[in-house]
């Protein structure tokens, strides 16, 4: 049917043959060696972490209020891969709540409302903070809490004006800038998000998650050197904090993305292994790892990573609970 010279003129096939098993490097070995590296990192860094300035952030995180810190994964899975939902029992232990820090002290009058948010009683919290705002309309922290109720529901357009007001009325209450930044990020307002995260770091320089966010924004701007610096800073600031293992894992996973983009697959593999080692539920990291391992000619390890991806993704979906009929 085709001309005799047609086949000879074909370009080379793009799909490579399967790699034989003796060329594979087991994932578990790599994990072992990388674990040592992570321990060394933990001993070295974060000597100057100012835990006090993080107090409110930790309080919020303990309640699962802080942003998941990663781009969405579709309309049904916005939190990052493997991230437990805010009210998950896999989340932070309840004893993480600490007194507020200088510059980020929550007004005691608002503490009960924050407690409601922590318990995911968002409608009730919204009612109460709305009442409070009727009496005290220019209270930045109340605006912040109202924004937070929407933020937790991922209704960022609704949260946005309240965070904006919060920064206006309480410009030194630094947690607002962090949440405002994520809010703007998820609305696609990259420049304003960058400004908010930068302001947060100006007020709370040791907050690793804002470095992480700026790293993501640098990735979006194709500024890989800046992204690399930010992700490494996020790791440095959080690696000694056992409550921040997920955050450190996420930063490693994004370094994996970065090195994939630079076509440095072995480096990417190392960071992705770090991510899955630090946070075994990080299904997005397993997904990336499976692609990298396939490209490196390690199909068995890739299959293993893929199985982990499926396992943890399904568990995350079960936790979130897919709608019966919807998206």
């Amino acid at each position: 049917m085709v001309n005799s010279d047609a086949h000879a003129a074909r370009a080379p096939a793009g799909f490579p043959p399967r790699i034989h098993s003796e060329h594979r490097r087991p994932v578990c070995l790599a994990i072992g060696s990388l674990r040592n590296r992570v321990q060394v990192q933990k001993r070295v860094i974060l000597s100057n972490l100012n835990l006090g300035t993080l107090a409110v952030m930790l309080l919020l995180m303990a309640a699962g209020c802080r942003d998941q810190g990663d781009p969405g994964q579709g309309q049904t899975a916005e939190p990052t891969g493997g991230e437990p939902p805010p009210d998950s029992k896999d989340g932070a232990p309840p004893d993480r709540a600490t007194p507020a820090a200088p510059g980020a002290t929550l007004d005691p009058d608002l503490a009960p409302i924050f407690a409601l948010i922590s318990q995911n009683q968002l409608d009730l919290a919204r009612d109460q903070v709305t009442d409070y705002l009727q009496q005290n309309p220019q209270t930045g922290q109340a605006q912040f809490l109202l924004g937070l109720t929407y933020h937790r529901e991922k209704r960022y357009a609704l949260a946005r004006p309240h965070f904006a007001k919060a920064t206006e009325f309480s410009p030194r209450f630094h947690p607002t800038y962090h949440f405002y930044g994520w809010c703007l990020y998820y609305l696609g307002e990259t420049e304003q998000a960058r400004t908010a995260f930068q302001e947060h770091l100006r007020l709370a320089p040791t907050e690793g998650d804002s470095h992480f966010a700026l790293g993501l924004l640098a990735m979006e701007a194709d500024q890989l050197d800046e992204a690399e610096r930010r992700f490494n800073k996020a790791i440095e600031l959080q690696a000694d904090n056992p409550r921040r293992r997920r955050d450190v894992a996420k930063a490693h996973a994004r370094l994996g993305d970065l090195y994939i983009r630079r076509e440095r697959l072995e480096l990417a593999k190392g960071h992705l292994l770090d991510a899955t080692n630090l946070w075994p539920q990080h299904y997005a990291a397993y997904y990336k790892l499976h692609l990298v391992l396939n490209r490196l000619g390690e199909p068995e390890a890739a299959d293993e990573a893929f199985q982990q991806y499926r396992l943890w993704q399904e568990r995350a979906e079960q936790r979130r609970g897919l709608p019966g009929q919807g998206r």
Binding site: M1, V2, N3, D5, A6, H7, A8, A9, R10, A11, P12, A13, G14, F15, P16, D70, P71, G72, Q73, G74, Q75, T76, A77, E78, G81, E153, K154, R155, Y156, A157, L158, Y185, Y186, L187, G188, T190, M219, E220, A221, D222, D257, I260, R261, Y283, A284, Y286, Y287, K288, L291, N294, R295, F306, Y309, Q313, L322, P323, G324, Q325, G326, R327
Partner: protein
């Protein structure tokens, strides 16, 4: 950008480059490489006078949200592209809507409704369109997917069509969305892939669901997905279902919305990409001998950078990174990003949406048809996509996304894409609509790419590209050998080279409920007077043309 590496395996059979026209007042305006985007909107009696039907407005059920399909077809073989509109119906009577329409291109962006004269009477709720000469008689035929049995309309010539669905055996009764012709077995005739969505009973529609806390229509989750169908063209006017035999039946069927047929890995075999709603996409890698391997997840094209399942609607192809392989852009749901998968080597894909500046900016948008075209004729491909939410309840406050949305026009600027919103681009591109399917082509033969876009329960609009001057070239293919029935060379790759540059296109098929123009359009630097071309036909046969003048439409025949 877009430098093409020489193909050492090219045969050097330069043949029959037929200069069709050298048109459009070429010297009336000086050549321009300025990044000028300027579109005028033509609607109603001056262009296409149709208000589409897709249920009621606002939609209450998932059947009502896909909107009409659009197919470009030169049904009268007069050298310009006519338009078929796959029109819908209503939930109360899905078999008897206002009917699909065929429009003849009269030139000057005027179209005439010739549905009746063509003998087309299709009132069933139609969705997608595939155009191809399935019987190899030199006339393009129409395949239309429907909510209900799909329809094959044979072009009898003299502007007449006959419904041959039953004889051909392609009347799948399930809810079909997109479809595409392609020669998947390299036997010279056009096979057919039909994408199915889900089970839906219009007489007993499902209840309600919730999205971001708002009550909305149900689906797709909770409604049973449907397997797609791959039909083999048997060459005698009939087809047979080889879906299972070809290994195109994944364990879990998909909520399919879009499809393209293209050779992703340059192995001379056409592969199939299926965009699914709210689940991973499929990549059926063609192994030859009518066998496929589903490699979506393995290759990295099935999901986004985080392994997230997306709701894929629109699909566009270009060699964005100029590495010789077709890259894939898909539009997705709101609160998610669109996705650009770079094709790294034919085997693996990597989500590089961020790298090209196309990620976060798309989060408030829900995308449908999209296309890479050099709208400003500066030598690289820009990107245009059409948007609107599926839920009429959508507002920024409720869902971080509005129901009616603006299109997104991105200019290629070096290594990145940059959104264009200035008023000069035309009011349409800065206004909100309920846009759905769109097709792209030089409908008025002035050298730049125009657009026809459908609105859900709204008009069909023609966007006339008013780019002043510019340098360009189009290539259309003809394979008129006795052994071939793929006379337009669907599935071919075309590479242009010229001093200090080169570009590459694919004559692929499919999209979101669309059948796109079967030719390649190139914008070119102003100082390029002629180019060399390499045509890699679908079976891998390579043809070299040493010199083609620019500012012309070329018809290249296979020897």
């Amino acid at each position: 950008m877009n430098l093409i590496q020489p193909c050492a395996q090219c045969s050097c059979l330069a043949v029959c480059a037929l200069l069709l026209t050298n048109c459009a007042g070429e010297d009336s305006q000086p050549p321009s490489n300025e990044p000028v985007f300027r579109f005028s909107t033509l609607v109603g009696e001056t262009a296409i006078n149709l208000t589409t039907t897709s249920g009621t407005q606002p939609a209450t059920q998932i059947l009502e949200v896909n909107g009409p399909g659009l197919g470009l077809i030169d049904f009268d073989n007069d050298g310009d592209l006519d338009l078929f509109v796959a029109n819908g119906a209503t939930l109360s009577d899905p078999e008897n809507g206002p009917g699909s329409r065929l429009y003849e291109n009269l030139g000057g962006l005027r179209f005439k409704d010739v549905t009746g004269a063509a003998g087309i009477h299709l009132t069933r709720w139609a969705m997608g369109v595939a155009v191809g000469d399935y019987d190899g008689d030199g006339r393009d035929d129409l395949y239309v997917t429907c909510y209900g049995p799909n329809v094959l309309l044979r072009n009898e010539g003299e502007g007449r069509f006959t419904d041959v669905t039953k004889h051909a055996g392609v009347g799948d009764p399930r809810w079909g969305t997109s479809c595409a012709f392609g020669d998947i077995d390299n036997d010279g005739d056009l096979d057919l892939y039909v994408v199915n969505y889900l089970q839906f009973d219009a007489a007993n529609p499902p209840g309600r669901s919730h999205f971001k806390g708002i009550e909305v229509m149900a689906g797709p989750h909770g409604l049973p997905a449907q397997h797609d169908i791959l039909y083999e063209n048997l060459g005698d006017g009939t087809f047979r279902d080889i879906t299972a035999a070809a290994n195109c039946l994944p364990a879990q069927p998909g909520y399919g919305l879009g499809v393209i047929i293209i050779d992703f890995d340059a192995d001379g075999r056409q592969d199939i990409f299926v965009g699914n709603d709210s689940m991973t996409n499929f990549l059926f890698h063609n192994l030859g001998e009518k066998r496929f391997e589903e490699r979506g997840v393995l290759s990295g094209i099935a999901a986004n950078i985080d392994g997230g399942e997306q709701a894929t609607m629109g699909i566009a192809v270009a060699d964005v990174d100029a590495n010789g392989y077709p890259d894939l852009f898909t539009t997705n749901f709101s609160s998610d990003t669109n996705t650009l998968h770079l094709n790294l080597d034919g085997a693996f894909f990597d989500d590089r949406t961020q790298q090209f500046g196309l990620a976060l900016i798309s989060r408030p948008f829900l995308g449908w048809s999209c296309g890479f075209f050099d709208f400003d004729l500066d030598g690289d491909e820009d990107l245009l996509m059409f948007n609107s939410h599926v839920y009429p309840q959508a507002t920024m406050d409720a869902m971080d996304s509005d129901y009616e949305q603006t299109p997104l026009l991105f200019e290629r600027e070096g290594k990145r894409f940059a959104r264009r919103t200035e008023p000069q681009i035309g009011s349409f591109l800065n206004e909100r609509h309920r846009d759905r399917a769109a097709v792209f082509g030089d409908f008025d033969h002035d050298g730049d790419i125009d657009v026809i876009v459908s609105e859900l329960n709204g008009p069909i609009r023609v966007l006339r590209n008013d780019h002043p001057g510019g340098n360009w070239l189009t290539i259309e293919l003809r394979d008129e050998r006795e052994t071939s029935r793929n006379h337009r060379g669907l599935g071919s790759r075309i590479e242009l080279t010229y001093p200090n540059g080169g570009q590459r296109r694919w004559i692929y098929t499919g999209g979101y409920q669309t059948s796109i123009a079967p030719y390649a359009h190139f914008g070119l630097p102003a100082d390029v007077l002629d180019v060399a071309a390499v045509i890699v036909w679908p079976d891998g046969y390579t043809q070299r043309i040493e010199s083609l003048p620019t500012k012309a439409r070329h018809l290249i025949r296979r020897p």
